[in-house]
């Protein structure tokens, strides 16, 4: 489903990803772990098309379609969703209005009719309820004054409403208390489906207790240096990167 081959990405003049290969099949959940500065966020930005992340070599395709050729909003239209490590505040724009605009922009990209306001309200309310978000939060401006946990929950609500086929979650679990962590895990598990792929970037095993990955990869110094099953995460937790022979300041 997602095929990444020999991906090289520069930020500024610096090469951050140095020939990264990764392949996700439909229905799978993959976890990426790795030391700080290894290039995990860079990978997520390069895949979602952020400006300033220049691909110098390699390919990335989603269901056979060349992602790297598309603008960020077009990739979203193709079903790519990025859960942000630091969700952004948009003052004066209600969560509901933001979701309405997003849903309809994506529908427009796909050549579908706009969703009626009533249908949209129903959809958003039901997804918010599933993720135990207070419906009052939908009226508040996007992420403004939200606590860290509320922001991450909001990311999960957005993900549920937009229903992507590829979700990349960059440290969505960082800084969460145990209840918020369960909500995030629940959001991810609800998205799991035979026709979707999920890439979870995390530093901690504790998320993987709730979201059991099919594969775990270690990203260090711009490449995938080790892959394995869910037990690899446990091994990392016990032994650290040094135990795998990876210097902690790989970058």
């Amino acid at each position: 489903m997602l095929e990444i081959k020999n991906l090289h990405v520069n930020v500024g003049d610096k090469e951050i990803l140095k020939g990264l290969d990764l392949s996700l099949r439909a229905g799978e959940v993959h976890a990426i772990m790795g030391p700080n500065g290894a290039g995990k966020s860079t990978l997520s930005y390069a895949l979602s098309g952020r400006e300033g992340y220049e691909v110098t070599e390699g390919t990335a395709t989603l269901n056979g379609k060349d992602l790297l050729d598309l603008e960020a909003d077009e990739r979203a239209g193709e079903g790519v969703f990025l859960g942000f490590q630091y969700p952004v505040e948009i003052p004066g724009v209600s969560n509901m209005n933001f979701l309405k605009t997003a849903v309809n922009s994506i529908r427009k990209y796909r050549g579908e009719d706009e969703m009626t306001a009533v249908d949209l309200l129903k959809l958003v309310r039901s997804k918010a309820a599933e993720l135990k978000m207070d419906p009052e939060m939908l009226k508040r401006p996007v992420n403004v004054g939200f606590s860290g946990g509320e922001k991450k929950r909001n990311e999960m609500v957005q993900m549920a409403v937009l229903d992507p086929c590829l979700a990349i979650l960059d440290e969505t679990d960082s800084g969460l208390d145990i209840d918020a962590l369960k909500i995030v895990a629940d959001g991810i598990n609800r998205l799991r489906a035979p026709d979707k792929a999920i890439l979870v970037i995390t530093h901690y095993q504790r998320l993987l207790d709730y979201v059991v990955p099919d594969h775990v990869h270690v990203l260090a110094d711009g490449r995938i240096v080790k892959s394995g099953g869910k037990e690899l995460a446990l091994q990392l937790e016990a032994e650290g990167y040094a135990g795998l022979g990876i210097a902690d300041d790989a970058a």
Partner: protein, 488 residues
Amino acid sequence: MAATIEAERQVEEATGDYKYGFITDIETEKAPKGLSEDTIRFISAKKEEPEWLLEWRLKAFAYWQSLAAEEGEPDWAMVNYPKIDFQDIYYYAAPKSQEDRPKSLDEVDPELLATYEKLGISLDEQKVLSGVAVDVVFDSVSVATTFRETLQEAGVIFCSISEAAREYPDLMRKYLGSVVPVQDNFYAALNSAVFSDGTFVYIPKGVRCPMELSTYFRINEANTGQFERTLIIADDESYVSYLEGCTAPMRDENQLHAAVVELVIMDDAEIKYSTVQNWYPGDKDGKGGIYNFVTKRAACRGVNSKVSWTQVETGSSVTWKYPSCILQGDNSVGEFYSVAISNNYQQADTGTKMIHIGKNTSSTIISKGISAGHGQNTYRGLVKVLGGADDARNFTQCDSLLLGDQCGAHTVPYIEVKNPTAQIEHEATTSKISEDQLFYCLQRGLNTEEAVALIVNGFCRDVMQHLPMEFAVEAQKLLGISLEGSVG
């Protein structure tokens, strides 16, 4: 605009087919170029004005001449433009005749039509706006007539200012120039001398105007907006909401616009005045565009009187405009909500004056300035509390948003307080649309233009929510369109 059309349709339905419509057959006529006593006599004669009004104009002209000779046009605003040659301007042109207008939309600038399309303006409205000779399909004159009858039943007077000069001389003599005196400033004096037309509204005691009044209803006179004069009087316990301008882009061959708006508000009365200004802003290189030098002022004369100015200024190449409130009556309230955009090479120097005279008067100022391209945006505001204004209160918030790094935002607040019981609060912020915000929106599927429009509308929310509902929906789209191409 869609809203006004809808209102017109309702009016039409309520009042049946039109019977009293008329189309005045005006030959195309222009006063000779330049400004002299003769020009003024010509205009006054064209308007069949009473003698006193001609005298009034001539006095204004004499004053303007003395100003022009002594100091010339004012230059204190933070705007730059070439000196205006006042002798190189036509001061009166009759509306174009049907024959001179485009025959169909095919003859209208496609770029203009594309913008109408984006604003969701219907074909009939597009015809009216772009000056296509309209037929019975959309007869604005008949609509205006039926509309007026409904108002007449309520006792509301809503007519052109020339007509008011002939039909309601007592009201006109009493109030014209009573809020913005002829000697107020250079452009007010010029306007007083040569105003070509405008709107007169009188809401009698105890009447809540049964509908929102809009300049758009007087489309027949839309071409005479160069030196517009508006006078609105709200008698005791009355209320009116007035909409000026429209979201559709206005092309005009006249480069200089100098309007005067006077509002008079009596005991327990309220005027809500909303403006969307979308005159031609000039092209991407700053060529062309309208100079918009406006004097707007409201006199809250009565106790518990209230005025609220809401403006969305997206057009014109140079804007110079300070809708003000004179809070004379005890407990009177003045509000100013403003969004001003300067994109490309547009310059806007705008703000308000709140003059607290009565006891327990309060004022609110919320100003949102958006600069993009090489645009320059200045908020200039005065809050003045006089000695007798016990317990006056003011809250001011000025926020500036920058798109790109070639543009500028400036805030020039003046505060003069002569009464120790006054409470004055001032907050100001300057921010940029961040790359983070843009990418967040793009990642959720919005394209760059949608993202900018969304973020800017969020920034302007506190102002937009004071616009009448349907006007607000259009104004939201307009903000996005005005900033197209400013990012990415």
